[in-house]
């Protein structure tokens, strides 16, 4: 708690400059921590919601398992059938979905902050599409024969490099980068369609999950890479957070406050692309999560903060819910999670375009 309210300088009524925060100051060292209460409440609530969604996702499906049975099985006391369904089918899928959702949304939040534009998400500027094109090329056997999830990562990097090149090296802010990305996304989408229409139906079917986004096609190696990538990416983005916060102010002020915005942008962009590539390699292009997750997080977070954690949690929740809906609606046939996310997200995207300023600060 703030213990040293010193108002002698001001000669005014004491002001709680840190109201809404928990303050800790070391008595022996020049260390202090300022933790926003609202952030804690928001993140704790989102974590609880995510846990509830996760539990529902484990319990519901073509085979319904009661919550007590789920808990029994998680403790290792379930029936063989329940254990098989939870350990082999729903557990890994839930994990992959939550991680991919968190990655997409974190990547989206980073990129929106860097570009100061809520439309500047990796999905909208074509990174998902490029990653998909590369993955599909691998599935249908065009070009280099690396695993699809590796190719997805390569595709994300290539798209970003191209967008960078086309927009000019300093173009990450504003519309040039977005327009270049849109073009790359459109070209990538077209290439994917050409590849799909020119190969055997069975190959095209095998590539289908890559084109819409599905948690059914995940490769264990890709999930492992995503776990590591998300831990590293999240940690680094937290370290970047102090600088990211100042990016919300006008460019000269950002610089005047000692932030090397060019470097921060490049670092944030690399993180964002890495997270997106890894997420696409697991779940395919579910890019709208990168738009919806941070938007939800921003709505409930404190003004002026960069809701990195809340975005990741929101993204995970949205992905788990979309996948659950996709599994339940037309059971036993599945609707790929990407289609559900697109159905839920498109009206929102439209609403942003029509009613909100693209500036994330407005």
């Amino acid at each position: 708690m703030n213990s040293s309210l010193d108002s002698t300088d001001t000669g005014q009524t004491p002001l709680h400059l840190t109201s809404g925060h928990w303050l800790w100051r070391s008595t022996t060292r020049p260390w202090s921590l300022l933790i926003n209460k609202r952030s804690i409440v928001v993140n704790a609530t989102l974590t609880l919601i995510l846990l509830a969604c996760a539990l529902s996702s484990l319990a519901l499906g073509t085979l319904s398992i009661t919550i007590p049975d789920v808990i029994l099985a998680l403790q290792g006391k379930g029936t063989t059938m329940h254990t098989f369904v939870l350990e082999e089918l729903r557990g890994p899928r839930l994990l992959a979905g939550a991680l991919a959702g968190a990655s997409f949304a974190l990547a989206g939040c980073l990129m929106q902050t860097l570009a100061r534009n809520r439309l500047a998400t990796p999905g909208i500027i074509g990174i998902d599409n490029a990653a998909t094109a590369f993955a599909v090329a691998s599935v249908v056997g065009v070009g280099i024969s690396a695993a699809p999830h590796t190719m997805a990562l390569v595709g994300a990097a290539v798209a970003t490099a191209l967008a960078f090149g086309l927009a000019g090296a300093t173009g990450t802010r504003g519309y040039r980068f977005i327009i270049a990305g849109l073009a790359i996304g459109a070209v990538s989408g077209a290439i994917t369609q050409v590849m799909l229409s020119s190969v055997a139906l069975d190959d095209a079917n095998a590539a289908y999950p890559w084109t819409v986004g599905s948690l059914n096609a995940r490769a264990p190696a890709a999930v492992n890479a995503l776990i590591i990538g998300l831990i590293v990416g999240y940690t680094l983005s937290l370290f970047l957070n102090r600088a990211l916060i100042t990016l919300q102010l006008p460019e000269p002020v950002t610089a005047s406050l000692g932030t090397r915005s060019g470097r921060v942008r490049v670092a944030g962009l690399i993180l964002s692309v890495l997270l997106t590539g890894l997420a696409v390699s697991v779940a395919g292009p579910v890019g709208l999560i990168a738009l919806l997750g941070p938007e939800l997080a921003r709505t409930i977070s404190r003004p002026g903060s960069i809701p990195l954690t809340a975005s990741a949690l929101s993204g995970a929740i949205l992905m788990v819910l979309s996948d659950l809906a996709g599994r339940l609606v037309f059971s036993p046939l599945e609707i790929p999670v990407g289609i559900i996310a697109a159905l839920a997200g498109s009206p929102y995207l439209l609403w942003i375009l029509l009613h909100k300023s693209p500036d994330i600060n407005r």
């Binding site: 085979l63 369904v85 089918l89 229409s197 095998a206 264990p220 036993p332 046939l333």
Partner: protein, 318 residues
């Protein structure tokens, strides 16, 4: 191959013993079949079979076993129309591209029959639910469906029925071939097999199941050299390239209403109307689910019926 007497005897034994002590019965009739993922042993006569491949559903029903689960046909929302009357009440467990493993588990299968394309990861999961049979024969040969039917019926404990069904189809082929011989001269048999999709016509491979039946009955299937080796069909053709398939006959399949609509639109075009087969009224529309997605003995019989009817009609016109 076990001899028929042995099969009949073990069948009888297993039925008798099943009522008393199941384990002994299982040991009495254990078959080992060779699959793409190695030998798989199957005990007794499977009662709850799930087929993840249209050819397997066909083979199972043809040999007298009604699967409890199957996948939908390409471009459809149920099993293929030709087999629906025989597959009443079958549970749907996925699409050709995606199996819902939970739905498979829910059906508690004791045998799973899959396609040669089943991925290793899927196999690893499915084989923990029930013995899973994945064929491993070269694709797009005239004998692929026979080899697969033999494998599936053997796994089902119906090897003998399977053999009979296959020879039945072979007899039927000979019958229709004779009919073709009597009605069509050797220079009147050139044909293309096309699937009309909303994005345009696909020329189907000469090795495709239905194409091999056309060949076997005396037609000369010519894909114009535009289908790549090992691929079931070409890229979609543009209208100006329809000339590549300007043969005396065109067997024309559509998968669903979208395909029908695209075909109806195309029929109005000059390019289509100029086709030799169109002018000779020898464009034969067939069901795409049957002709370009299905395989197996029942599908073969239906396709042969289609060919025979076509030839009959031709004869009536002349």
């Amino acid at each position: 191959m076990p001899n028929p007497l042995f099969v009949a005897k073990s069948l009888l034994i297993s039925l008798v013993l099943a009522a008393t002590f199941t384990n002994a019965a299982a040991h009495a009739d254990t078959r080992i079949v060779q699959t793409a993922y190695g030998p798989v042993s199957i005990e007794g006569i499977p009662k709850r079979v799930v087929t993840l491949y249209e050819g397997a559903l066909d083979a199972a029903i043809a040999s007298g076993i009604n699967p409890v689960g199957a996948i939908i046909t390409r471009g459809g929302s149920d099993v293929a129309e030709y087999i629906q009357p025989k597959a009443k009440g079958v549970g749907i467990v996925g699409t050709p591209g995606e199996t819902n493993i939970e739905a498979v588990i829910a059906l508690k299968p004791d045998l799973i029959l899959a396609s040669a394309q089943l991925a290793k990861e899927q196999y690893n999961l499915l084989s923990r639910i029930a013995p899973t049979i994945v064929p491993n024969f070269p694709a797009f040969t005239p004998t692929t469906w026979k080899q697969e039917t033999r494998l599936f019926t053997e796994a089902l404990g119906r090897a003998e029925t399977g053999r009979k069904v296959i020879s039945g189809v072979e007899n039927k082929i000979a019958e229709v071939a004779k009919l073709v011989d009597t009605k069509l001269g050797p220079n009147q048999r050139e044909t293309a097999l096309i699937r009309w999709m909303p994005q345009g016509p696909l020329v189907m491979s000469e090795g495709l199941f239905s194409a091999s039946l056309l060949e076997a009955t005396g037609f000369n299937v010519n894909s114009g050299g535009i289908v790549k080796e090992g691929r079931p069909h070409s890229h979609p053709l543009s209208q100006e390239n329809l000339g590549l398939i300007d043969h005396q006959w065109v067997f024309l399949a559509t998968l669903n209403a979208d395909g029908d609509a695209a075909l109806d639109a195309a029929r109005e075009s000059q390019a289509f109307q100029r086709l030799k087969a169109n002018r000779a009224d020898q464009v034969v529309t067939v069901n795409g689910q049957l002709w370009t997605s299905a395989s197996g003995p029942l599908a073969a019989t239906e396709i042969l019926n289609d060919i025979a009817n076509t030839i009959d009609n031709v004869a009536a016109d002349r």
